[in-house]
């Protein structure tokens, strides 16, 4: 049977309670009759032979590009850049797609006699990956061949010697990217496309860029004009990146883009109930849910988090395409929509969502309050095309414990941002004006970013800017089950139950509201008509 497309359910009295993520826990909520629940399409069938598909893609590129073997020659300088730990979510079971693709690229390079090869993690201002994380992404064979020789590096956006300024776009945007990548004869970028925002020119123009370059599109004004940043054609974030990408190409940087699509099979069989529609839960699913949820309820959050972060997703590759950046990305985006798209009729007054334990920025770490806001208002809110799922002036209800808890190794600047900045203002514009510069240039944060495993000092600002469109659009945000102090610091309201949250939401949207719930996992994109 072919996988079923997405589905919008109208809740009636026979609808079983709906599953909500709640951080490292789950909740079953009995929604009011007449509510809508949006379910994602089922995982589409993976490629039968991923290695053969990769080889075909490299030999038959899209757009104005020669096959990869034809681009490789002895004596050339080859750089292979790839996406960092933020993709995919959760991290996939071995072998990771990056390993499968890069091994084939290296095989071709070896056949062509290319000696000067370097691998770069395109982490922009994200934290550096640890050795186990790199081994997981690349496999031991690649890691052992390149890392000991210093040929596996992590992009350093604060190393002036490792950056090159390629110029300014016609909008005055500085384009400063990784020097090794820019000066190579060929830059192969290996991407994993989990959401429509990823890939395209954003891979190089953001992943290998410096703060000087990123600040042109990572700001509140751009984010407010990205409606949404999951919809490339209506996203100022992408428009800016595309301008930069074209300038990079015009500067002579030869980018061979390889993009991959995954299906949305995000959790192993023990958690299969997460991805099922509740009325289809079998006895096994119900037992699994009861076992897992009861065990988690009795497990301290710290250990529950460790358990979840040890979960590897059985994602499988559904497509791979290579060649010229824009031609490749057009196909990739279509594939993302094919897997995640659900057509939804009309906006809603109240949008509810259960937030999980993980976002792109806390793999093997804590989903701190800022990341909770970013996940709900930055990501889930923006998973639309056309118009937001919730109407202007509407309310978002999120379910998450939102603990006042930070990982000091990964998110040191987040702690200060939360304590010092959000206590002053939650307005993204004011935040940017008053505080961004000092955090972005703080030598201690830069030191931790360059030498440790810390996100850049400016990163919490970007997470807050990610929420800028939602904050401007919404009439209120309510977090069910959140830590009151942390939630109030974010400028949101807290409710102890969904029923309370609905009562509070009606104070904002008025009586007789409409309610829509986005059922995750897996992630989905709403095409709002």
């Amino acid at each position: 049977m072919s996988p079923r497309p997405g589905f919008v359910l109208e809740v009636d009295r026979s609808t079983p309670p709906t599953l909500y993520w709640h951080g490292e826990r789950f909740r079953l909520e009995r929604l009011p009759e007449g509510s809508r629940v949006i379910y994602a399409p089922e995982p589409i069938d993976p490629l039968e032979d991923p290695s053969a598909a990769i080889r075909r893609a490299l030999q038959s590129p899209l757009g104005d590009k020669d096959p990869l073997p034809a681009l490789l020659r002895a004596g050339m300088k080859l750089t292979i850049a790839f996406d960092d730990i933020s993709l995919p979510l959760p991290p996939m079971e071995r072998p990771d797609i990056r390993q499968l693709v890069i091994e084939q690229v290296l095989d071709m390079a070896a056949e062509a006699g290319v000696d000067d090869v370097e691998l770069i993690v395109a982490l922009a201002l994200h934290r550096r990956m640890t050795e186990p994380e790199l081994r997981h992404a690349l496999g031991d064979r690649i890691y052992d061949a390149f890392a000991p020789n210093g040929l596996l590096t992590q992009h350093d956006a604060e190393d002036p010697d490792a950056l090159v300024h390629l110029g300014q776009t016609d909008h005055g945007e500085d384009v400063e990217i990784n020097k090794r990548a820019a000066e190579s004869d060929l830059l192969v970028y290996v991407n994993i496309n989990l959401v429509a925002m990823d890939g395209g020119h954003k891979s190089v123009a953001t992943g290998l860029a410096s703060y000087k370059s990123l600040r042109h599109h990572h700001n509140p004004q751009t984010m407010r004009q990205s409606r949404s940043f999951m919809d490339q054609h209506h996203s100022e974030l992408h428009t800016s990146n595309w301008r930069m990408g074209r300038l990079i190409a015009d500067s002579g940087v030869n980018v061979f883009q390889i993009e991959t699509n995954l299906n949305n099979d995000a959790f192993p069989p023990a958690f299969s109930f997460l991805q099922k529609r509740e009325w289809e839960w079998s006895v096994k699913d119900r037992l699994a849910y009861l076992g897992v949820s009861k065990a988690l309820d009795r497990t301290p959050a710290k250990y529950a988090r460790q358990i979840f972060h040890s979960v590897k997703a059985p994602h499988r590759m559904t497509a791979v395409q290579a060649g010229e950046v824009e031609a490749v990305h057009a196909v990739t985006t279509d594939n993302v929509w094919r897997q995640q798209g659900v057509t939804v009729d009309g906006q809603t007054d109240i949008l509810s969502m259960g937030l999980p334990y993980i976002s792109p920025y806390n793999v093997n770490s804590i989903l701190n309050p800022i990341l909770v806001a970013c996940l709900g208002l930055g990501y889930f809110f923006n998973m639309y095309r056309g118009k937001p799922l919730v109407r202007e002036g509407g309310v978002v209800i999120m379910s998450h414990p939102t603990p006042w808890e930070f990982n000091p190794v990964h998110h040191p600047s987040y702690i200060d941002f939360f304590e010092q900045v959000l206590s002053e203002t939650t307005d993204p514009i004011e935040v940017a004006k008053g505080f961004e510069e000092s955090f972005a240039t703080d030598p201690w944060y830069i030191h931790l970013y360059r030498t440790g495993h810390a996100y850049h000092g400016v990163h919490p600002f970007y997470m807050w800017y990610w929420c800028a469109h939602a904050l401007q659009h919404l009439g209120g945000v309510i977090i069910v089950g959140g830590d009151p102090a942390a939630v109030h610091r974010l400028g949101f309201r807290v409710a102890s139950t969904m029923a309370d949250a609905l009562e509070m939401a009606q104070d904002i949207v008025g009586p007789s509201p409409t309610l829509t719930h986005v059922h995750t996992p897996p992630i989905l994109m709403s095409d709002v008509q």
């Binding site: 049977m1 072919s2 996988p3 079923r4 497309p5 997405g6 589905f7 919008v8 359910l9 109208e10 809740v11 009636d12 009295r13 026979s14 609808t15 079983p16 309670p17 709906t18 079953l28 009995r30 929604l31 009011p32 009759e33 007449g34 509510s35 809508r36 399409p41 529609r277 509740e278 009325w279 839960w281 006895v283 699913d285 119900r286 849910y289 798209g341 057509t343 939804v344 009729d345 009309g346 906006q347 809603t348 109407r391 202007e392 002036g393 509407g394 904050l471 401007q472 919404l474 009439g475 009606q506 904002i508 949207v509 008025g510 009586p511 007789s512 509201p513 409409t514 829509t516 095409d527």
Partner: protein, 351 residues
């Protein structure tokens, strides 16, 4: 921040939920239009509170996929009429069910002499107040009927799960009957079995009484008799509602009475509806007989003053008040009326 209630309202479209997505087709994506929640909706909470301990219910707007196993009226009961299964069932009925029925319900059987000269197959049409009715009635059937009898059982109740279907087909020889609508398959199955020589127990009320009084009779028994030409034996079971009433949690030892009536055949040209009314009236007379005596019941029947099976049309508490009182199952010194052992029988009754 802005608030704009008007913008979304203008976007609303007529409510429509395309449920095709639930069935695994890869057609167009489902679309669910937004619906405003009334205060009643907001106060409501959908779904079973006991989920996931209890099985999930199925949303009304989502069509169910074809069941993996054929259940309900589609359940195949042929296996339960194979000789080895019948043998085990007969042993179970004679050695377990009958002693248990005697212990718990202590039935007094009246009118079974009508069955002595009756040729099988026949259709037994009884009133229905308890799950005890079927095993009790089977226990009280004469031997030549007892082990070649099937029971018409509600397809939506006894055949909605695989394990229930197997259990009741095996233990009672149950066959699935659609009770909520006309179903060609279940009617055909019952008629085929009767024509094939199987006796049939059927409860024309379609389900157990919710309050101890009878319900309106449906036409199944009459239809089968008209179609097959086989007689209907009206049966009245009294007291089983006190043993295990509908919704009751435990079994209570109580004396019961099983009264067989005169076999009925449809008259020339009589249709199923009129014949059904005659069956209902015959059972009502037997009910009267169970609480009075045969002669009184006959006189009332002739005079048209037999109490209705459905009880008085008054307030619920008065209906409950008017029910015949339960009779204790403590040993009755007069139980063995004719001295022939169990079940207790009243002996030959003059016509």
């Amino acid at each position: 921040m802005t608030t704009n209630f008007g913008s979304s309202r203008s976007l609303l479209k007529p409510r429509a939920v395309r449920a095709d997505a639930a069935l695994g087709t890869n057609r167009s994506r489902a679309i669910g239009a937004v619906k405003r929640l009334s205060p009643t909706d907001i106060a409501s909470r959908a779904g079973n509170r006991r989920f996931p301990l209890a099985a999930p219910s199925w949303p009304e707007s989502v069509p169910r996929p074809a069941p993996e196993h054929r259940l309900g009226v589609d359940y195949d009961t042929d296996w339960s009429r194979k000789y080895p299964v019948r043998l085990v069932r007969a042993m179970l009925l004679d050695n377990v069910t009958r002693p248990l029925a005697r212990l718990i319900a202590d039935p007094l059987v009246r009118g079974d002499e009508y069955l002595a000269t009756l040729d099988a197959p026949v259709i037994f049409a009884a009133n229905h107040t308890s799950h005890v009715d079927t095993p009790l009635l089977m226990s009280c059937l004469p031997l030549r009927f007892r082990h070649r009898t099937v029971v018409a059982a509600a397809a939506d109740y006894f055949f909605d799960r695989r394990w229930k279907s197997d259990l009741f087909a095996f233990s009672l020889g149950a066959i699935p009957i659609e009770r909520n609508k006309v179903n060609r398959r279940s009617a055909q199955l019952a008629a085929d079995l009767v024509e094939d020589g199987w006796n049939l127990i059927i409860f024309p009320e379609g389900g157990r009484s919710p309050d101890g009084w009878g319900q309106l009779y449906r036409g199944g028994a009459a239809y089968l008799s008209v179609r097959t030409g086989r007689p209907v034996v009206p049966v009245h079971l009294q007291g089983t509602g006190n043993v295990l009433p509908k919704g009751g949690r435990g079994i209570r030892r109580t004396r019961t009475t099983v009264t067989f009536g005169t076999p009925l055949l449809p008259d020339e040209g009589e249709d199923a509806r009129r014949f059904g009314a005659r069956i209902e009236s015959a059972v009502a007379t037997l009910a009267d007989e169970a609480t009075t005596d045969w002669w009184t019941a006959r006189r009332r029947a002739v005079a048209g003053t037999t109490p209705r099976l459905q009880g008085p049309d008054v307030a619920p508490w008065r209906r409950s008040w008017a029910l015949p009182k339960a009779t204790s199952a403590t040993p009755n010194p007069n139980a063995d009326v004719d001295g022939t052992g169990w079940p207790r029988r009243t002996g030959t009754r003059s016509q």
